[in-house]
């Protein structure tokens, strides 16, 4: 068993592959891979229907914030093995994934807790923004409540 660990981030204008994210964290020293997928929900806002989201990011700072976040996760859950986070940018249609993250760990509890923490902290700290686009062409910048 090697001591090598991986933190892999990707900001992508293309469709996200859950298989790719899972393969990135796969390790024969781990019995658990915990995954979270955030998808665009078909919402009604004030009678307007959401048809998709438009994402933008301060890309270089996303990299530095996620690097800090992974260091933080490894302090809290030292047994965490690999972390992979893919986030979409640009246009994301309703039903598509905007973020996929996976964490491998020897046992499941630490990985499941780490994924919950990871998505909460990403929403709180990663410089990424989305606006909802409605069926009447109007748009509205969102704000994470948490």
């Amino acid at each position: 068993m090697s001591a090598e660990v991986r933190d892999v981030f990707k900001l992508s204008r293309d469709w996200l592959s859950v298989q790719e994210v899972v393969d990135t964290v796969s390790s024969s020293s781990c019995g658990a891979i915990s995954v979270f997928i955030g998808t665009t929900r078909e919402d009604q806002v004030d009678g307007r229907k959401v048809v998709g989201l438009e994402y933008e990011a301060y890309e270089s700072m996303v990299q530095s914030e996620l690097t800090k976040l992974c260091a933080d996760i490894r302090t809290r859950w030292p047994s965490v093995r690999h972390v992979c986070i893919h986030h979409r940018l640009g246009w994301v249609s309703v039903g598509e994934a905007s973020v996929i993250m996976a964490i491998s760990s020897p046992h499941r509890h630490e990985g499941q807790q780490a994924v919950q923490y990871c998505i909460s902290q990403l929403k709180a700290n990663a410089p990424i923004w989305k606006k909802e686009v409605y069926d009447n062409q109007e748009t509205s910048w969102r704000e994470n409540s948490e």
Partner: protein, 85 residues
């Protein structure tokens, strides 16, 4: 000092641009005064007051009395409320 200012999301829409050079910025300067300089150039940013923070060399800085030391070429970003994920 000359710093590069980056605008994101609603701040880019309000300022009408995504990036500009800001020249003759005094240093040290409080983050509140730096925000004041940006407001003078882009008065429409005022609607973000109370919600926005800055990022200076990729570190978040609240708009307050905190004093920043800037160097030529530093990157300053206007950061409206985050909505990643």
């Amino acid at each position: 000092m000359t710093v590069t200012v980056l605008f994101f999301a609603k701040s880019a829409e309000l300022a009408g641009l995504k990036e500009e050079e800001l020249v003759a910025v005094p240093t040290p300067i409080s983050s509140k005064d730096l925000w004041g300089l940006l407001l003078r150039k882009h008065p429409r940013l005022l609607v973000l007051e109370g919600q926005v923070v800055l990022a200076v060399r990729q570190q978040y800085v609240a708009i307050c009395d905190q004093v920043l030391t800037l160097a030529d070429g530093d990157e300053v970003a206007v950061v409206p409320p985050l909505s990643g994920g």
